[in-house]
């Protein structure tokens, strides 16, 4: 089996339920480890302000905050397509907050409702990465 050496994000997460109840969007902030997996956010909260840390694995900090992307909200989940810095002019919401509300996986942004709750986020791009790795088709 072939797996792509670079996992590409096919489509950024889309905002679900863009109805009148949604007042604004917020970008998902995730704490990841050097392998690109979700980590306990406590690891990132202990970092020096604005930087990664907790030691280094090669050139990568052991833990760091990333923004947007697709993937699960629980520690251990793989995250794809994130940015190392927040998008200017938009709030962020921690993945742990979403996980605490029962959302297991989602995209780059979520909707914030007028009542201050989260709209259910939908994510895309979790299938297709192997075939998008320059292989050609999925059939044979």
């Amino acid at each position: 089996m072939r797996r792509p050496k670079v996992l590409t994000l096919a489509l950024v997460g889309t905002l679900a339920g863009c109805g009148p109840n949604i007042s604004r969007e917020a970008e998902v902030q995730r704490c990841i480890d050097s392998a690109g997996r979700m980590a306990d956010e406590q690891n990132c909260r202990q970092l020096p302000h604005g930087g990664g840390g907790g030691g280094y694995v090669g050139y990568l900090p052991m833990y760091r905050w990333v923004y947007g992307g697709n993937g699960g909200y629980q520690p251990g989940s793989r995250v794809y397509g994130y940015s190392e810095s927040p998008t200017p002019g938009i709030d962020h919401v921690n993945a742990a907050s979403l996980a605490g509300r029962g959302y297991s996986v989602g995209g780059a942004r979520v909707g914030i409702t007028n009542s201050g709750g989260f709209a259910a986020p939908s994510a895309r791009g979790g299938f297709g990465s192997t075939g998008e790795g320059g292989h050609g088709g999925g059939g044979e």
Partner: protein, 370 residues
Amino acid sequence: MRRVSYPARSGWQRTVESQGLIYHTPNGRTYWDESAYYEFSSAEIDKLEAATNELQQMFLAVGQRIIDRNLFRTLHIPEHAERLIRATWEQEPPAIYGRMDLAFDGTNIKLLEYNADTPTALLEAAVIQWYWLQDAFPHRDQFNSLHERLIAKWKELRDYLPGVLVFAHLDDAEDWTTITYLQDTALQAGFQTANMLIKDIGVKDGKFVDIHDEPLLSCFKLYPWEWMVHEEYGALLESNDTLWVEPIWKMMWSNKGILPLLWEQYPHHRLLLECYFDSPRQMQYYAKKPLLSREGNNIALVTPGGTIARDGDYGEEGFVYQELAPVKNFNGNYPVIGSWLIDGESAGMGIRESETMITDNLSRFVPHIF
């Protein structure tokens, strides 16, 4: 079985394009090749049909053995997929189609492999060669009931597959053609259908959704299970109720590891080639195939004339060693029979021929008559 040179129809490119085959000459190489055809006797067709049905029964028996004896790790199938395979094997969700690749020299039939999960070259086999027959030999016949059987099978499934039947695939010309044709047959059977790229399948509240964020209830995916289970959303398959066609148990059959398991269960069977997991053992000439290779990649043939090998990125899961097949050489052309099954029964065939004994994505599709 014989190969006959024959003049191509005037303007054949426009003709096959109008019938949906847009990649007849990819990158300037002939894919649809009507400068020749293969002619079979009725007895040979009967033999191929019977062999295909017999092999299908053997695959069912080996599938049951994999489950009963827990041979999933042998096939490098991960644990979360194993649970789904066991469940779907018992529940028997819809399975539409598959293609066995057979070596045939006019006398002996040998199974090369079974593309049970994501076979393509379906439009060519079902439609394009049939229209060619009508133009070239209207009074002859062809082993081909694919179109009717596909529609009949979809009709059977009308009450079983809920919601819109979504066809998901990669952005690839060959896949697009196959999926559009299958979607067309489902439409003709009365389904409401939709089409989307596999990467656009979404997740909302932990459930798979379509491009409009509507629940994905029924999905035909032209995308290999061995890829899906390892990708990000693979972990969500168990907690979702989406009905996938083909079902996940097809992972067992499309894995090359099924070949040594068949040989173990049916040693020296006339339709099988000797095959082992660990090494070629006593075989002097053999094919070394990765468990999960596709399109002929990473296959090496050790032949009396030397070794023929294809590069690729497969093989990390291991290899099988299969006796060299008796693929007949017709003046430098090596044909492989793609024997199609619809709903588990032999339903027609298409022939791909190559200039070497490895059939790959450059092999030509050549029509047939009997």
